[in-house]
């Protein structure tokens, strides 16, 4: 018994299971030839000069550490130490003690690629900027003082412009030329095709004029266009990189616990990273398979959509290979690990982030479709302008070509293409910073439309780690028996019961009925643990506390009562949402007495109790049929169908994996307050996206006729086109007002 008690001491408190811990970064450290080792860590929660100083000076004090440097923009910390004097785990622990969570940074491809592209664009930008200013110097002299100059001076200035502009365009235009070439090679067009064509035509025409010894040249328009476009490209790349690294950080911090079965058959909750190949792991209903492995026992249905994209669940039995990230949908299974967590984690994160990025929003799809139609339109319009001017006026070849170039430049659909993605990148980036993981591309658009918010009770409005088992009339044997069943479930009450009983074996042949309870066999007898009515207890239960009932064969059912507390900010969050004119509802599977108590505490007047998962789902569908747009906030297995049926859904960090998989947004941390900010960001983002779409449509409607009738020169076209793209990007950036985090 002593060893059991000691093991219970060593176990994390129930709440720790939900709190992101620190990940052992040993595998990510690199030992250099000069006797120094280097480790790169992504740090969460560092926002200001104070944090920077705390981290850098705190780590520099550690023995052996030679350098600690935090990049505040990317939140990346680089630590070097004399090999042997310090360990990577020691550094991560010290950082943890300073109050900052950290995860190893994938020092490989992703980060380096981002940095390399940023530097490449920055160099192009610098060359284009310097060149365009110098070319402009000569062009302005030519425009203003052309009459006073001799032909020789004019020629000199023209050729100097060419001398600067040609190599600069060849160097700085590469991002556009390469992209256009890639598209053309697969017989497609993108926005870079008209840009490259316009720049190429302007340069060719100018060279022809310069060789002919006179006439107007457009070197300044070509290089200026490249420069202004590069500004937008650079901003876009930087924002995307920041949003992506924030998403990776969040995804990596979703460190879960796994139930390891030791040799004696005792279930021990351990951090997933401690699972080694060969370990046996119990994967309960609704849980995610923590590491790659092989099913040893049990027959279940698995959701592999995150791994293969296959949406239909797959039946798997003993001997089948399973991959981390797979969600177990029907029965508890035992998996023997074949790989360590570290090997599968990064791949899993990458999949998660990519899945989110690929799910594109409706507005982006709309803008993409418009842009795809628009590019051929631009080419035909510009060709028509050329032919029109050539045939119906005396402008000649030169004049017709200049007008055609102006049309090509001014109609580049850059603003249209940037209008929505820019807003989305800024909005999701801001939410990532606040600990909200946006899983689908159109989640924010749908969130902006909601008018009803539906909350679940247990684990959502109430704090999952505040549940404690009360003393009652149960015997220790009852508790041990109930715990064997409870260990196979992820329900908050079952977890609290299992935690109270300490580590031990799990029951066999477990079957969980969402909304009712768990059924299993213990010592040959059928045992049920769950809702009162399901276990043969008096309907409605006893008192206003959360409770589980244990029914063993024909014996009268035994009651386990739990005290719980609502989350500290639940009432405030509900009030803030109600102030925005949203209707708030509480739908729970729990007994009326309990639900009423919580509803009163958080001031929700519209509540319903005793609902089965099917009832919840039916209520949401009924609301949808009335034309209401519902935001569902829930965490449990019984919420998963409702989360999927809602217009948009949010799962808190403690939610079961199946619910996180079904929801559009996942909150990190123990607070509900981010819901209010997320909603606010979603609404502003929608407004900005519509403003941007409207503006770019307006710009094109005004600019195209002007260019076609020949009022606009290529230079003015370049400035107008770039200005429209910049306005769209800057409008999106207004969303990013970053308040320092707590």
């Amino acid at each position: 018994m002593d060893t059991l008690a000691a093991a219970a001491q060593a176990l994390p408190a129930p709440g720790d299971a939900y709190r992101p811990g620190f990940v052992d970064p040993t595998a990510y450290a690199r030992a250099g030839a000069d006797g120094h080792s280097t480790l790169e860590l992504a740090v969460r929660g560092a926002h200001c000069a104070g944090c920077l100083r705390k981290i850098e000076s705190g780590l520099a004090k550690l023995p052996g550490v030679t350098q600690a440097r935090l990049n505040l923009t990317t939140k990346k910390l680089t630590v070097s130490w004399t090999t042997g004097l310090q360990s990577p785990a020691g550094i991560a622990r010290a950082l943890h003690d300073l109050g900052f969570h950290s995860v190893p940074y994938d020092a490989g491809a992703e980060a380096d690629h981002q940095r390399a592209s940023e530097r490449f664009l920055l160099r192009c930008l610098a060359v284009a900027g310097a060149a365009s200013m110098n070319v402009m110097l000569f062009s302005i002299s030519l425009w203003s003082g052309g009459d006073e100059m001799g032909a020789g001076t004019r020629g000199l200035l023209t050729w100097l412009s060419a001398l600067i502009a040609l190599p600069a365009i060849a160097f700085a235009g590469r991002p556009f030329f390469r992209s256009a070439w890639r598209a053309l090679r697969v017989r497609q067009v993108n926005m870079d095709v008209p840009i490259s064509l316009a720049v190429g035509l302007a340069v060719a025409l100018s060279l022809f004029e310069a060789l002919g010894g006179g006439g107007d040249t457009y070197f300044e328009a070509a290089i200026m266009l490249v420069f202004l476009l590069l500004i937008g490209r650079y901003l876009d790349l930087r924002l995307r990189g920041q949003a992506r690294s924030a998403a990776r950080r969040l995804a990596a911090l979703q460190v879960a616990v796994a139930s390891r079965i030791d040799e004696a058959g005792v279930i021990v909750a351990v951090p997933v990273r401690e699972i080694a190949p060969g370990d046996r792991v119990l994967v309960g209903l609704g849980e995610q398979v923590p590491v790659n492995g092989v099913i040893e026992d049990g027959l279940s249905t698995l959701d592999v959509s995150l791994i293969t994209g296959e949406t239909a669940p797959v039946e798997s039995g003993p001997g089948a290979a399973v991959y981390s990230g797979t969600v177990n949908l029907s029965r508890a299974i035992v998996v023997r690990a074949t790989a360590a967590r570290g090997d599968s984690l990064l791949a899993e994160i990458t999949r998660l982030v990519e899945a989110g990025e690929q799910a594109r929003s409706r507005y982006v799809k709309l803008a993409d479709r418009a842009a795809a139609l628009y590019v051929p339109l631009v080419h035909s319009l510009s060709a028509a302008t050329f032919v029109g001017w050539l045939v119906f006026s005396n402008a000649g070849l030169h004049g017709a070509l200049v007008h055609a170039i102006a049309v090509l430049i001014i109609t580049c659909p850059c603003a249209l293409g940037l209008a929505v993605p820019a807003v989305q990148v800024v909005a999701t980036g801001r939410l990532f910073e606040r600990g909200v993981l946006v899983k689908t591309g159109d989640a924010l658009e749908r969130l902006a439309e909601i008018d009803v918010v539906v909350f679940d009770k247990t684990g959502t409005l109430t704090a999952p780690d505040s549940l404690t088992l009360e003393r009652g009339e149960y015997t220790p044997a009852d508790l041990q028996c109930a715990a064997m069943v409870a260990r196979a479930s992820r329900h908050p009450l079952a977890r609290a019961l299992a935690a109270a009983a300490g580590p031990g074996p799990a029951a066999a042949d477990v079957h969980e009925v969402p909304g009712y309870g768990v059924e299993a066999s213990v010592d040959g007898a059928r045992v049920r643990l769950g809702a009162p009515a399901w276990c043969g207890a008096p309907e409605g239960g006893v008192g206003a506390t959360a409770q589980l009932w244990l029914a063993v064969a024909e014996r009268p059912p035994v009651r386990f009562s739990f005290t719980d507390q609502v989350r500290p900010d639940a009432r405030e969050t509900v009030a803030a949402l109600a102030r925005q004119g949203l209707e708030i509802m509480l739908l729970s599977g729990d007994r009326p007495a309990c639900v009423e108590a919580v509803a009163r505490e958080v001031a929700i007047s519209n509540w319903a109790a005793g609902l089965t998962p099917a009832d919840k789902n039916a209520r949401l569908i009924a609301l949808r049929d009335q034309g209401r747009r519902v935001l569902m906030v829930g965490d449990g297995l019984n919420d998963a169908p409702a989360l999927a049926a809602a217009h948009v859904s949010i799962a808190p960090a403690n939610a079961i994996d199946a619910s996180q998989a079904a929801s559009d947004l996942v909150l990190q941390g123990a607070s509900l307050a981010p819901i209010v900010e997320t909603l606010e960001v979603a609404r502003i983002a929608k407004r900005r996206a519509l403003e941007n779409l409207g503006f770019s449509a307006f710009y094109n409607a005004c600019a195209i006729p002007l260019a076609v009738v020949g009022i606009v020169t290529p230079l003015i076209a370049a400035v107008a086109m770039s200005a429209s793209s910049l306005i769209v990007t800057l409008n999106a950036l207004r969303l990013a007002s970053r308040k320092p985090g707590p």
């Binding site: 100083r53 023995p63 505040l72 920055l122 160099r123 060149a131 600067i164």
Partner: protein, 55 residues
């Protein structure tokens, strides 16, 4: 206008110098963290660097 023969090469030389300096700055990572450097300037140097290293 003969002065142009002096001024234009001088201007071009300055541009090349400025670009060279900028390329060097990008390569040595000066643009990788635009926020940290601003914050770091506020620190007091209350521990001489040698002392931290030897500890």
């Amino acid at each position: 206008m003969d002065i142009l023969l002096l001024l234009v090469p001088a201007a071009l030389l300055l541009v090349v110098l400025a670009l060279g300096a900028f390329f060097w700055a990008v390569r040595s990572g000066q643009y990788d963290d635009l926020e940290g450097a601003a914050a770091r300037a506020l620190f007091d140097e209350d521990q001489p660097e040698d002392e931290t290293r030897s500890r």
